[in-house]
Symmetry: C2
Subunit: 249 residues, 2 copies
């Protein structure tokens, strides 16, 4: 038996409770902007959440991510100002009813959340040639997003809300946080305990857009290919269950 | 009470079992290339996994993703040929020991897995102006990656292996699957039951790269900012636990 084969787990079936736990966390995750409490986050909890991010998949096992924990009120003030500048520009891009709804939405919790985290991607962490990034150069950015999603799910499992602030210019973020040219600020996150989680995404309950029927987004073998009707019925059933109570049976 | 407030959940604390379940799934997830079994995937299971993807976060609730289920042996044959062409180019980019290891790695399961899925991003799904994408134009691609990571975790929870094939040219993928110009093939995935999951990422156990110490990737308030020693100790502890047994205590 080789050393490699010795690394194989003997029993790798997960329990039914783990399967249901994953779905409960995944379906109750929300993008939180307005319900943050000021309580500090315990170091042990923060360490678990960051470890979840660090165990994300990465192209060529590159692990291109870093985590800047933004605690300084002064730095947060500059980030907030950069958001405000971008948001004023953004608001002017919507017309009519959408413009009014847009202005009424709270879209970040930069100063209220007890912690902000910028998740970055160092595109040169292992040199120019990366296994698996040779033909799709964005793969390292995608790996970093996988880390963000792991972080988000772990936060929800720990009872922490997380909001992704994307209405901000990348050059402003890079300047404020001192990022070198090669480092991309993939996600700016607000993290903390919350008073409550919404049952639905806020943009859904506020009427911004509806949840699409999943069965319409699935096709066979090519873009706008055939529909498998038996599978479509299962997709309708699973989506209805997920929308109804947060558990896929 | 407004309709919006009525959407708030009364009791949204998750059980300890759900928290542990999330971590077990997340830490035992692997990028699978070589252990696929030919057994077909049950429609109900596939529907749950795709529903998990569909409940990912998306910028402006845009839901830009679609899922092309590639079952046709003919289409898979063309994808496999596109992989082979790219992989030959890729192999020539590595030198010395790395070149030999690279050539010995199995990097896809396109023909062996019972199902392939291409997860795409329709950049024009809701028109040109998208809430939250006004300043970072890649946010819709990032949303699609969040859906991929949800899909990957749900697959692991269902006992299915998943491998992301990234050694392939995007133009070739678009041509084979008939994608319009505006649609990006974000991820080409191989999915199916497996004989077993590895305890460690294959690139780690094969010596390609080591897992980095997470504490070295975390800093305060700016790039290469200060280190919080108390937090670093917790990070070391959480990483050791995750590496040791797949559970963060």
């Amino acid at each position: 038996m080789t050393e490699h084969e010795a690394a194989i787990q003997g029993d790798d079936a997960l329990a039914e409770a783990d399967r249901l736990g994953l779905y409960r966390v995944l379906l109750s995750r929300r993008d939180v902007r307005g319900q943050f409490l000021p309580d500090p986050i315990d170091d042990a909890v923060l360490a678990r959440v960051l470890t979840a991010a660090h165990f994300a998949p990465s192209v060529g096992f590159m692990q291109p991510w870093s985590f800047i924990l933004v605690r300084s009120p002064q730095v947060r003030g500059r980030i907030k100002a950069a958001f405000e500048a971008a948001n004023t520009e953004a608001a002017s891009m919507f017309d009519g009813d959408k413009a009014a709804v847009y202005r009424s939405l709270k879209l970040e919790g930069i100063l209220e959340a007890p912690l902000n985290i910028c998740v970055t991607c160092d595109r040169d962490r292992v040199g120019p040639v990366v296994l698996g990034r040779t033909h799709i150069p964005t793969m390292d950015l995608y790996s970093t997003v996988c880390a963000v999603q792991n972080l988000w799910l772990a936060a929800r499992a720990e009872g922490l809300g997380l909001g992704w602030v994307s209405i901000i210019s990348e050059p402003a973020l890079k300047e404020i946080l001192g990022l070198p040219e090669r480092v991309v600020p993939v996600a700016y996150l607000c993290l903390g305990k919350v008073s409550h989680f919404f049952a639905q995404p806020e943009l859904e309950s506020r009427g911004w857009r509806k949840r699409l029927p999943l069965a319409d987004l699935v096709s066979l073998d090519r873009w706008e290919g055939e529909r498998d009707e038996a599978l479509a019925a299962e997709l309708d059933r699973a989506q209805a269950a997920a929308e109804g109570g947060g558990i896929i049976p």
